[in-house]
Every structure is written in structure tokens, then in C-alpha cells.
């Protein structure tokens, strides 16, 4: 190819316009429904506004209120943290174990994979509705199983009133979330496992390493980028938990299972406190951002990238 021809594809004035035209539809949409709303929401958060009346400028009062006066915000934040620290580790452990098991050379693994992944494609509304009925105090299948155990072994147990007890309601939300999402992280772990070169395991096996040793010294380090990725995604997902508790318990009893996102929904669209709701949304964003940033910084302590570069 001659120099003149190559220059054709390096930088061309007419591609300037073509390039912008190609991007335009997407850019317009993102400006209208992402960029502008971000700025707008920051502005709203400085006002007290019920969407109908006149907005009143209150400065940072919506933010300071969250941390001083707003007891509900503090409760829902605490709930969200509880969900995060229970769902994320449990789901990581379950899905890692599942992925390692599903990666074994046995028959029927394809069918298992389909089954474990099935809840992921269901609508959260349907899933939560099913679990609401399963956790029914008197006639739900969970209580029935517990009664069965009681009768068989005379165990000193009574099934809890799952959805009306603050602690058990939280547990119910965690169980629903795990059932619904465990397949998702399993599939990502499985893909990570399958990308580990087999000759590493074979070489270690020839050197006499046991399966357990190989798991700790090869699988886990080689899998750590995937683990990091799954961890971050699950944490962000836990911060943004909404449908699970919104349908299963309506956030109750009281505010026991209400999450930050449901509080945003409630403040904005039930109590019409747009400023407060926007401030909560920004507080949530700040929390997610800081959390992710810290994890990103910490990853070099435990995440192993084979190429030596961190992506």
C-alpha cells in the first residue's frame, strides 16, 4: 500500500462529520437520559420540592438531614449493609463451589447448569411472589418442611413467622436473592475456571501435588481476576437491591427489610419528596463509588494477573 493510500485512512476531514453523525443518536440519548439527569438530580437534591408546588432552595440540608435527623434513612442504610455482608460472601462461596463441581468431567453437567441458572432468567416479581407463598407462616412449603421435621424427631421447633419478624424477614430476602442469583455468578466462575490452562494442573499433578494443593495454589490464584470481578458486581448489585424486598416483604415489617433504593422510590413517588430522594440517590452513588474505588486499590494485594498488567 502506498503512503498516499494509507493516509486516506489515517485522518480524513470528511470522516470527522461522519463519525459524529454515527455517534449522534446514541450520544443524544445518553445526554437526555443520563448526562442531563445526573446534573439535574444534583440540582434537585439542593431543593425541597414536592413536584407540584414551588421548589425551595435548602442548600445541603437534604444531605445533612440524612445523617442527623432521618432515622429511616439510617435504618435502611443499615439494612442494605446487612444484606451486602450476608449475600455477597454466601453467594461467592456457593457459586465458587458450584462452579468447581460443575467443571468436573461428569455426565449431566449441562443439565445441572441449565437448572442452576434457571432462576436468573425469571422475573424478580415472579420469584419474589413464589417465595412469599413458600414462606407463608402456616401453609408455605418451608413451614411444612419444618413441621415435618418437628413431627419426625419431636424437635423443639416452631417455624418462624418469616415475613413478619424483622430478623427472619431479612433472612427470607437473603434466601430469595441467593436462589435467584447464584446461577449468575456460577456461570462467570465457570468461564473463569475453563480459561485456566490445563497444562498448569497437569504439570503440578506430575510433580505430585494433590487436588487440594492444586486448588489452592493454581485454581484460586488464576481465578482471582474473576473472583474480583464477581465480588465487585455482587457488591454493586447488593447496594442496589430493590425488587427482592419490595415484592417479598414490601420493606417490612416496619422498615426491617427496606433497602436504600426502595427508600428512594418511596420518598420520591409515594411521599413526593424529590429533593430528599435525590440526595439519597447521591449518597448511594457516593457509597458505591468509594467502595469500588477502595476495592480497586486493594486488589493488587490479592488479585493475580498473569500478564503482569492490571486491566
Amino acid at each position: 500500500m502506498t503512503a498516499r493510500q494509507r493516509s486516506l485512512f489515517r485522518w480524513r476531514p470528511d470522516q470527522q462529520w461522519a463519525g459524529y453523525l454515527f455517534i449522534l443518536p446514541s450520544l443524544l440519548g445518553l445526554i437526555v437520559f443520563t448526562a442531563f439527569p445526573v446534573v439535574f438530580s444534583l440540582v434537585i437534591s439542593l431543593f425541597e420540592w414536592n413536584m407540584i408546588g414551588v421548589a425551595r432552595f435548602v442548600g445541603f440540608d437534604n444531605y445533612t438531614a440524612l445523617f442527623t435527623r432521618d432515622r429511616i434513612f439510617q435504618e435502611v442504610s443499615w439494612n442494605t449493609v446487612i444484606f451486602l455482608v450476608s449475600i455477597v460472601p454466601l453467594q461467592m462461596i456457593f457459586s465458587l463451589v458450584l462452579a468447581v463441581a460443575l467443571n468436573l468431567p461428569m455426565r449431566g453437567m449441562g443439565a445441572f447448569r441449565v437448572i442452576y441458572y434457571m432462576p436468573v432468567v425469571t422475573t424478580i416479581v415472579a420469584a419474589a411472589l413464589i417465595f412469599q407463598w413458600m414462606f407463608d407462616r402456616n401453609y408455605g412449603v418451608v413451614s411444612a418442611v419444618i413441621w415435618g421435621l418437628v413431627e419426625r424427631w419431636n424437635a423443639p421447633l416452631t417455624p418462624p413467622d418469616w415475613l413478619n419478624h424483622p430478623g427472619w424477614a431479612k433472612a427470607a430476602v437473603v434466601i430469595l436473592t441467593l436462589w435467584k442469583n447464584v446461577g449468575f455468578s456460577t456461570i462467570i466462575f465457570l468461564a473463569g475456571l475453563q480459561s485456566i490452562p490445563r497444562d498448569l494442573h497437569e504439570a503440578a499433578a506430575i510433580d505430585g501435588a494433590s487436588a487440594w494443593q492444586r486448588f489452592w495454589s493454581i485454581t484460586l490464584p488464576m481465578l482471582s481476576p474473576t473472583t474480583f470481578f464477581v465480588f465487585i458486581i455482587l457488591c454493586i448489585g447488593a447496594f442496589q437491591l430493590f425488587g427482592e424486598s419490595f415484592i417479598l416483604t414490601r420493606g417490612g415489617p416496619g422498615y426491617a427489610t427496606m433497602t436504600v433504593v426502595q427508600y428512594i422510590y418511596q420518598s420520591a413517588f409515594e411521599f413526593f419528596r424529590m429533593g430528599r430522594a435525590s440526595a439519597v440517590a447521591w449518597a448511594l452513588f457516593a457509597a458505591i463509588f468509594c467502595f469500588t474505588l477502595i476495592q480497586w486499590r486493594l486488589q493488587k494485594r490479592w488479585v493475580y494477573y498473569e500478564t503482569g498488567e492490571r486491566s
Binding site: P105, M106, M118, V121, I130, N138, A191, I264, S278, I288
Partner: protein, 285 residues
């Protein structure tokens, strides 16, 4: 695929593997139990639903529950809405994202890389931050309780643009150059060269996006009001709030809402699982 090859081999598994297999089977039963419970309840009389011990296979099965569920709630309408909204949003999203991705991957213009970094930055913004202003914009446009409100905000995706750009970059530039020498326009190259070569990536993204739209709950909850505009998840949630203790009917409704998607999933699982796994995995920057 490696697992597929190995699962076809017929060697006898060591005993430890057998234990693992049994545990996996037990886990599968637990995973399937909620579905079985739903199906079982949906075929019971109210009296049978509230009995202990549980009767798993009702005799005779009350198929009438399904008829009553669709009479009470316009599930057909919910389906049509969900299908229409998810299809339109996915197609529009594919269109806008692939055009932008083409420009980012294969064209040169001033500010391209800076603009792309801004695209990436928007990926970090959680939907909750833009929720309220987006709602206000929809209201100001007069789109409240319309299909536009359900479709248009979902038709633009920085994530999709990123995903497709990564794929478009893997195609050799020589294709474009050859076409360009033959006098092809950029639009022609996009539609006749790059898009056909990217069918698997487009399909992956389409599945990922469609499922997200189909299952979306919070946004339709906010921007619709009338029964005619409700999508399937919302319809189901309305059904729940109106018939909260009629579990046999509610479970029939749940089966109606879930069955088609689950059947499609089981038939096309290879594609769907791969679609979502790659969709999620490539969001790793």
C-alpha cells in the same frame, strides 16, 4: 467447549466425583422446588392450597385456575406490552449502540477517545441517580403512561456501545479499506461489512438486553399508570396486591408469566447462558 467434550466421555467417575454428583443433584432439587411448588399450587382448590401436610399432586388438577387468572387480569395485554417494549427497545439499542460503536472502533475523528472515556464514565452511574430526573423528563415530554416512556430511555446504552466497540475492533481494518477504495460509504461498510461479521456479538448483546428489558420492574412501575400500559412483571405485581391470599390463582398467574420464557430458555439455553455470561464478563474494563 471443553466441558461438553468431557461430559460425553463415558469413563467411570471416581467415588469422590459420585458424591459431588449426588450433592449437585440434591442442589438441583432445591433449585427446582420453588417452580414445582408454584405449579402444584396453581392446580389446587383454595382449600387444597391451605392444607397440611402438603399434597404435591392435586387430584383432580384444577385447570380452571388458569382460566380465571386470565379472566381477572389481562395477561394477554401484559404479554403484548412486554414483547413490544422489549423488542423495540432492544432493536433501537442495537441500532444506536452499533452505529456509535462503529464510529468509536473504525473511524477517526477529533475527540473520539475523549468521548469514549466519557461513555465509559457513564457506566459507573447507578440508575437510581438518573431515575427521578428521567421521570420528570418523560412527564415534561408528555410521555407519561405511553409506550415511548417504556421504550425510549432504554434505547441508548453506553454499555452496549462499549461491548460492540470491543468486538468491532477485532475485525481486520483491511475489510473497510478495501470497501472504501471501491467507493463504499461508511454507512454501507457498517451495514454490509461490519454488522454481518458481528452476528454472534450482536446476538449476545440482544439476548442480554432483551432479558433486561423483559424483566425490568422499577422503571415501568414509575412511568405507567393504566392497566393497558402495564408490562408482565407489573401486571403480576398488581395481581398480587389485588388477590393477595388467593394463592392458587396467583401461582397460576405466575406460571402464565414464567412458562414461555422458561421454555425458550431451556430450548435456547446454550445461547442465553453464553449471552449473559459474556455480556457480564466483558463489562470488566
Amino acid at each position: 467447549m471443553r466441558s461438553a467434550r468431557l461430559s460425553r466421555s463415558k469413563g467411570l467417575a471416581p467415588p469422590a466425583h459420585l458424591v459431588v454428583w449426588m450433592l449437585l443433584a440434591l442442589g438441583s432439587v432445591l433449585m427446582l422446588l420453588p417452580f414445582a411448588w408454584t405449579l402444584s399450587t396453581s392446580l389446587k382448590t383454595p382449600g387444597q392450597a391451605f392444607t397440611y401436610p402438603i399434597v404435591w399432586i392435586p387430584n383432580p388438577p384444577i385447570w380452571d385456575n388458569y382460566l380465571r387468572a386470565v379472566t381477572i387480569m389481562p395477561f394477554g395485554r401484559f404479554y403484548a406490552n412486554s414483547l413490544f417494549v422489549a423488542t423495540c427497545a432492544t432493536l433501537l439499542e442495537l441500532l444506536t449502540a452499533s452505529l456509535a460503536a462503529f464510529a468509536f472502533a473504525r473511524m477517526r475523528f477529533w475527540g473520539r477517545d475523549q468521548l469514549f472515556i466519557i461513555y465509559l464514565a457513564t457506566l459507573m452511574i447507578p440508575g437510581q441517580v438518573t431515575l427521578i430526573p428521567s421521570f420528570l423528563i418523560i412527564r415534561a415530554l408528555g410521555w407519561y403512561d405511553t409506550y415511548q416512556a417504556l421504550i425510549i430511555p432504554g434505547a441508548f446504552s453506553a454499555f452496549g456501545t462499549f461491548l460492540l466497540r470491543q468486538h468491532f475492533r477485532t475485525l481486520p481494518m483491511e475489510f473497510d479499506e478495501a470497501a472504501q477504495i471501491d467507493g463504499a460509504s461508511a454507512l454501507w461498510i457498517w451495514w454490509c461489512v461490519v454488522m454481518p461479521l458481528s452476528k454472534p456479538a450482536l446476538a449476545t448483546f440482544a439476548i442480554f438486553s432483551f432479558l433486561g428489558q423483559w424483566n425490568s420492574f422499577l422503571w415501568p412501575l414509575i412511568v405507567t399508570r393504566s392497566m393497558e400500559m402495564r408490562t408482565l412483571p407489573l401486571g403480576l405485581s398488581m395481581f398480587q396486591s389485588q388477590f393477595s391470599v388467593q394463592w392458587n390463582l396467583l401461582m397460576a398467574g405466575t406460571v402464565i408469566a414464567l412458562a414461555p420464557l422458561l421454555i425458550i430458555y431451556v430450548v435456547g439455553q446454550r445461547w442465553i447462558i453464553r449471552g449473559i455470561a459474556t455480556g457480564a464478563a466483558s463489562s470488566r474494563l
